[in-house]
Each structure stands twice: as structure tokens, then as C-alpha cells.
């Protein structure tokens, strides 16, 4: 079968009419201004899949710039039916290439993710110079306090120092910390870089005794001792790099959002468990009743809508995104002081009242 077709030689835009035929092995064509040419069918490549009524474009490995355009549907059908590689689309080699790249890329990303999110943060957190940690911490504290009043009263400050001293009794290598209480009506306590611990007025208001606050404080000191805030900052940097890999762009303005992200994400479940363990250990060693911490957890649990109230679907959903391990699971791990150990109060009654009123000063 001989059909007419159009040939472009890839060197000029001249439109050349040719007559094409094929014998199953070779495709040959020639025209008034095109010399006799023979292309092996094996070396042919289809530009796109054959579509009825659309021009079918072929090229050849020996002349990749040239194009032969056939419009005869019967000829195309006949040719393609015997040579599956002319159906267009990806060849086996193409697919292997793409998968190779993709899998390679994903492995590289996963490896980077592992290094940046798991291996490095803890190591980097421990080698960050003291001055850097403090500088970052102060700025984060300022950002998180959002201009709220820093609570002060001579008696309250003294009570806070006394509580830290009491905690340090059993834990002589307590890290250097500074504890600030802000006049913020939201229940929260967090540790930021440089051993800075921030508590809110609301957390004092919700506590029914000094041991509850001592427990919370011991937990935050646990974060400081493990350098969790610093590690989290390194992890956020890694996350941002990963994010930019997937979005193909600069993942936004990290520095201005960092305080915000740190508050939102707080720490990982593992970090929370570590801080809990540190708190339990410190409280027992200092003979402060760990049941204070437990009671505080029970309160949080109630506030979070746990403990029986399953009516709100959205409070249930919130649990997925919470980074704190389930409060109930955490409570189970808290045990009373060993038998025979007499609990020491973390503060005297007078000191406790002074601390509770620190924001009224």
C-alpha cells in the first residue's frame, strides 16, 4: 500500500509531499524534492498515539529532527497493529527511568528527613552555644508573651525560687532555668530555648495546691534538661526544607513564624514522655508528692473533654492533632512516693498564696 504523506527534514520548514510504503521491516518514502529514504520500523518513534482523524507523526532514531506525517487511517492502523512500540506513550525504558528517578528522589528525601528530623536535632541542640540559645529564647519568649504583663511580687518571686530550690534538692544537676509567669488568661506552660520557662496566670488559678505547679514545673524543666525546645527548632528548619522540596518553592518566611509554629506544634509525643519521666524522677528524688502532677493532668483531661464526655465529635477529632500523648495514658504512669518516704510540701501555705497572687502584685 502506497499512501501520500508529508515530510519535514528538520532543517527547513519546507513542506515536502512524499509517497510512503512499508514492508513490515522498513518504511520507505520519496518525493519530487525528497530522495528515496528507508527507515527501519524498529527505529521508528511515534510522537503521539494514533488518533482517528488526526495526523500521525513519526520520527526515526537516525534522524531525530525529521518528521513524517501520515494521515491515512488504514495505513496507520496496519502499521501500528504490527509494531506495538508505535502506539505512543511511554516505553518500558521510559517508565523504568521515571520510577528510578522517583524512587531515588523519595529515598533521598526520606534519608534527608531522617537526618534532619530524627538524627540531627538532638545533637545540634546540645552543641548550640549558650549565647545563641539565650538570644533565641528571649526573642521567642517576647513573641509568645505578646506584650502580656510579666507578673512580679517580692513574695511571689521568693516563693517561685523556693519551689525551684525544693525541686533541686533531689536533682542537684538541675539545668539553669528562668521561670516567668505572664498575665495571660489561657491555661499554658512551655519551655523555650535557653532554659526559659513560661507559665500563665491561668495555670496558677486552676491549680489547687503547690504540688500541682511543682509537677508542671518539673515537667517543663525536663524539656529544658533534654534541650527539647532547641531540638524542635532544628526539626522545624528540617521540616521547612522538606516542605519546600514538595511545594517546589521557598516554604515561606520561617523566622517570623517560628515562635508561632513552636507554640502550635509544641513538642513531639516522645519529648512529652521524656519530660514526664524527668518530672516523675525529680519529684520522687525531691520527696514532692507526684500525685500533684497527676491531679493536674486529671484537670486537663476534663478540660479537654475526656473522661466520659464523648458528645462532641470535634473534641474527639482534636485528639488526632494533639501532640501530647493521651492524658489518660500519662496519668497511669504517675505513681505515689515509695512507701516510707515522707512527702515534703513543695511550698509552705504562705508561699503558695503569695505565688497564686503573683499577678495581682
Amino acid at each position: 500500500m502506497v499512501v501520500s504523506a508529508t515530510y519535514f527534514d528538520g532543517e527547513s520548514a519546507r513542506n515536502r509531499s512524499v509517497d510512503v510504503s512499508e514492508d513490515g521491516t522498513n518504511l520507505t518514502f520519496s518525493g519530487t524534492d525528497t530522495p528515496y529514504t528507508s527507515w527501519s520500523i524498529k527505529g521508528l518513534h511515534a510522537i503521539d498515539a494514533p488518533t482517528t482523524g488526526q495526523p500521525y507523526r513519526l520520527t526515526h532514531e537516525d534522524k531525530s529532527g525529521a518528521r513524517l506525517i501520515i494521515r491515512d487511517d488504514a495505513f496507520i492502523k496496519n502499521l501500528v497493529s504490527r509494531s506495538s512500540h508505535l502506539k505512543g506513550g511511554y516505553s518500558g525504558r521510559d517508565i523504568a527511568h521515571i520510577f528510578g528517578w522517583t524512587i531515588g528522589g523519595l529515598v533521598a528525601v526520606a534519608a534527608f528527613g531522617y537526618v534532619a528530623m530524627v538524627l540531627l536535632p538532638d545533637k545540634v541542640a546540645h552543641i548550640l552555644p549558650e549565647t545563641w540559645r539565650n538570644r533565641v529564647g528571649s526573642q521567642m519568649e517576647t513573641a509568645m508573651a505578646e506584650g502580656a504583663k510579666l507578673c512580679h511580687s517580692p513574695a511571689g518571686d521568693a516563693a517561685l525560687s523556693a519551689m525551684i530550690t525544693n525541686l533541686a534538692l533531689g536533682q542537684p544537676d538541675l539545668p539553669a532555668i528562668s521561670v516567668h509567669i505572664y498575665d495571660i488568661p489561657v491555661l499554658n506552660a512551655f519551655a523555650v530555648s535557653g532554659g526559659k520557662i513560661i507559665m500563665t496566670r491561668e495555670i496558677l488559678a486552676k491549680a489547687d495546691g503547690p504540688d500541682e505547679i511543682a509537677g508542671v514545673l518539673a515537667h517543663e524543666i525536663g524539656h529544658v534538661a533534654h534541650r527539647h525546645p532547641e531540638a524542635q527548632l532544628v526539626r522545624l528548619t528540617g521540616m521547612q526544607v522538606l516542605g519546600s522540596v514538595f511545594t517546589g518553592s521557598n516554604g515561606g518566611d520561617m523566622t517570623t513564624n517560628i515562635a508561632f509554629m513552636a507554640t502550635v506544634l509544641k513538642f513531639t509525643r516522645e519529648a512529652e514522655a521524656e519530660a514526664d519521666a524527668y518530672a516523675r524522677d525529680t519529684l520522687v528524688k525531691s520527696s514532692i508528692d507526684p500525685m500533684g502532677l497527676k491531679r493536674f493532668f486529671e484537670k486537663i483531661n476534663k478540660l479537654e473533654g475526656g473522661g466520659g464526655d464523648k458528645s462532641s465529635a470535634f473534641s474527639k477529632l482534636g485528639g488526632i492533632f494533639s501532640t501530647h500523648p493521651g492524658t489518660e495514658d500519662r496519668m497511669k504512669l504517675i505513681e505515689p512516693l515509695p512507701a516510707g518516704v515522707v512527702a515534703k510540701p513543695s511550698l509552705t501555705n504562705e508561699q503558695w498564696l503569695a505565688l497564686k497572687d503573683i499577678c495581682k502584685g
Binding site: T51, W101, T102, R135, F246, T255, T256, L317
Partner: protein, 420 residues
């Protein structure tokens, strides 16, 4: 007898739909999920290959010869030399000086400026890549000028538009087109662009003043309405309906009052969102027609038959596609979350993971299934309305000898400028 030299040809443009785009879109969706979106580069290439093959010039389809790997390598390069160092530098400085240090804001400002400077560079390079991968009659295109020079013009035009409250727009767009289009080559033949911005100004002024009128007029109307309402116990009604004070139940007339207010505000916002873009469609259409008119190839003059109504319909259609896709996505997401709550997601980590994966797939799907359609609509819009007055001597056109770039569009992608 030597072959008779064919005479110069008149060129006609058409967008001829062919089946296969939906198959590509669903493949892209599936592969995007399997490869955690890395497929994106190949998916984009497949969409382009399809759309290019639907653009017919004198019944001969265009051919897109780009590869997903080109885009992938472009991205890797830009990531390695640009994004990663930038991220590490800001992060490192953040650790050293603290995240709130003024030096960091200064650095971010410098990066923003560099970004605007590089924006033009990226657009030019992307155009060069696309032209070098576009074949017609076996001949490819290229850009013959300097991306650096264009980036300066682009940056200058941003500043000029900014400082002139937009009034530099017609001039700057003509200047930018002169550079961009004037540098375009098909094989060894150049596109030529010549024309003044003057004829664009009456339409620009019309749109500018009408926008001002809408903004100020809307503002006055709004202020007047509020003044009226506040005189008629609106404040009380508002407090009752939204329970900002006390526990008083609102009566029906108060509900009506607040209802009217909300509808009024929404109407105002909607009219801003719809009226102002619609106004500017008048200018867009005028600019498109004018810039096409200023463009010549081998002496033949382009014409684009696009009216403001055409542009509005195009934009409205595209908007509806996005709204529909997003609505479906939101519906599916709400469905998935409801189902996961019913399946006690809080006790079942697997349900949570499956829900999250499902939602990710849905949002992948929104893009994979709406973007190609919109791109196709935009391109079809142009090629259905484009004509070329005069004949072109195609036989003289030789293959381009410019080197083909080996990577593509990394920078344009980074700035989200990869329009096609």
C-alpha cells in the same frame, strides 16, 4: 526540471480537541499519589504534550518535545543553588541572632527584592525552554536575547507600576512585550514587535477611574447604610443576635435587620470581587488585541479577536471549574471526617492515617483534574481567536542553531510563575 518553489503561505490557527486529556489527568492523579507528588514534573509535561498537539497551524499540529526529566533537573538545580542555601542561611542566622532580630527582616527584604529581580529572569528562561521544546514542521523556537536584561526591565516595570499607581502599566507592558516577543525566534526567523502604548491609555484610564468610582462609591454607600442602621437600633439588635451582651433573645425585626446587614456586606464584597475584575477585563482584552497587532512574523501581522465579554466568560468558566473542584473536595473531606468520627478515629490510629491520606488524595485530585482543563481553555481561547494577516515564506525558514537548554523552569516554578 527543478521543483517549483512553493509560494508563501497564509497561516491559520486552530485548537482541535483530541481525546486523551482525561486519561492523562487521571494518570497524573494516580502517579502523583504513588510518588508523593514527585510525578508533577512528568505530569505537567504530558499535559503540555497533549495540549500542544491540539494547536494546529495550517492543519499541522505543534509538537512538545520537552521531558519531565528536564523540569526535574531544573528544580533540583534551583533547589540546590538557591532555595536550600537561602533556607539554611535564614535558619542559621535565626539561631545565631534570634528569630526576631532586625537583621533577619533586612535579609528577608533583600531576598524579596532579589526574588522580584529573578522573577523576570525566570519568566524569560521558562519561555526559552518552552520555545526550544516546541516544534512545528520539524523546526523549533528559541529566545535570542538576554534573560538578565529582561529581568531588569521586569523589575523596573514592577517599580514603575507601583510608584505610578498603575498608570505605567500600559507603557511597561508594551516595553516588556517588545523585549520578550522581539527576542522570540521560530527557526532562524524572528518575531518583530513594534508599537506605542498610547492607544492603550484611553481604555486604561476608563478602567482606572471606573475602579476608583466603584471603590469610593461602594465605600460611601456602605457608610451611609451603616449610619442608617445605627440610628434604628441596629447596635442593640446585633448584640442580641450575636449574644455579645446578656442573654436577651432577639425579636424577628432585629433578626431581619442583622440579616439585611450581613447580606449587604456580602453583596458589597462580592460586587468588589466580581465588578472590579470584570472592569479590568475591558483593558485586558484591549491589551491582548493591541499587543497581538504589534506583533509581526515575516511581515505578516497578528490579530487577536478577543472582546472583554470573551475574557470575562473565560475567567468565569475557569472560576466555576475551580469552585466546582473545590466544592467536591470539601464535600469529600467533610464526608471522610464524618466517617472517621463515626469509626471512632480517636481510638483508632489507622482510621486517622487513612483519613489523612484520603484528604491528601482529594486535594491532589483538585489540582490534577482542574488545572489541565483551565490551561487548555486558556490556550484554546487564544488559538481560536488568533489570525495572521499576510503570507509567510516558510520555505526560507531554517532550523534554529541556538543551543537547546538542558534543564527547564526550575526558577519559574520556585516563584510559581510557570503559567503553562
Amino acid at each position: 526540471m527543478p521543483p517549483i518553489e512553493p509560494a508563501p503561505e497564509k497561516l491559520t490557527f486552530a485548537y482541535v480537541h483530541r481525546p486523551g486529556l482525561w486519561k492523562i489527568m487521571f494518570t497524573n492523579l494516580g502517579m502523583g499519589i504513588i510518588t508523593l507528588t514527585v510525578w508533577h514534573f512528568w505530569g505537567k509535561t504530558n499535559v503540555r504534550r497533549h495540549i500542544w498537539s491540539c494547536i494546529h497551524i495550517n492543519d499541522e499540529p505543534l509538537e512538545y518535545t520537552g521531558l519531565g526529566g528536564d523540569l526535574f533537573r531544573g528544580f533540583i538545580l534551583v533547589f540546590a543553588i538557591f532555595i536550600l542555601p537561602l533556607l539554611l542561611l535564614t535558619a542559621g542566622l535565626g539561631f545565631y541572632l534570634g528569630p526576631q532580630h532586625p537583621a533577619i527582616s533586612g535579609l528577608n527584604f533583600l531576598f524579596a527584592v532579589a526574588g522580584y529581580l529573578l522573577g523576570g529572569f525566570a519568566l524569560y528562561k521558562a519561555r526559552n525552554y518552552q520555545l526550544s521544546r516546541t516544534n512545528w514542521r520539524g523546526i523549533r523556537g528559541n529566545m535570542a536575547g538576554s534573560a538578565g536584561l529582561y529581568s531588569l526591565t521586569y523589575f523596573g516595570s514592577i517599580l514603575a507600576k507601583w510608584f505610578s499607581f498603575g498608570w505605567a502599566t500600559p507603557v511597561m507592558n508594551v516595553v516588556m512585550s517588545e523585549q520578550m516577543i522581539g527576542d522570540m525566534r521560530f527557526g532562524d526567523s524572528a518575531f518583530k514587535f513594534k508599537g506605542r502604548a498610547g492607544p492603550l491609555y484611553p481604555t486604561y484610564a476608563l478602567c482606572w477611574f471606573l475602579t476608583l468610582f466603584v471603590v469610593i462609591g461602594g465605600g460611601i454607600l456602605f457608610a451611609y447604610e451603616i449610619a442608617q442602621w445605627f440610628g434604628s437600633g441596629f447596635e442593640e439588635a446585633f448584640k442580641h443576635v450575636f449574644k455579645t451582651e446578656g442573654d436577651t433573645k432577639p425579636n424577628s425585626s432585629e433578626l431581619q435587620l442583622v440579616g439585611f446587614f450581613i447580606v449587604g456586606v456580602m453583596g458589597l464584597v462580592l460586587s468588589y470581587v466580581l465588578i472590579i475584575p470584570a472592569l479590568w477585563a475591558i483593558y485586558s482584552a484591549k491589551e491582548m488585541r493591541t499587543l497581538a497587532n504589534y506583533t509581526r512574523f515575516d511581515g505578516a501581522q497578528f490579530k487577536l479577536n478577543a472582546t472583554a465579554a470573551n475574557v470575562i466568560w473565560l475567567a468565569v468558566g475557569n472560576l466555576l471549574i475551580i469552585v466546582l473542584a473545590v466544592a467536591v473536595a470539601i464535600g469529600l473531606t467533610i464526608g471522610a471526617i464524618t466517617l472517621s468520627i463515626w469509626m471512632e478515629v480517636d481510638k483508632n490510629f489507622a482510621v486517622a492515617v487513612l483519613t489523612a491520606i484520603f484528604v491528601l488524595i482529594v486535594y491532589q485530585g483538585v489540582w490534577a483534574l482542574s488545572r489541565p482543563i483551565i490551561i487548555q481553555r486558556n490556550i484554546a481561547f487564544v488559538f481560536k481567536r488568533l489570525t495572521l494577516d499576510g503570507a509567510v515564506d516558510l520555505n526560507r525558514i531554517r532550523q534554529s542553531i541556538a543551543a537547546r537548554p538542558t534543564r527547564g523552569e526550575g526558577l519559574a516554578d520556585a516563584f510559581d510563575l510557570g503559567a503553562w
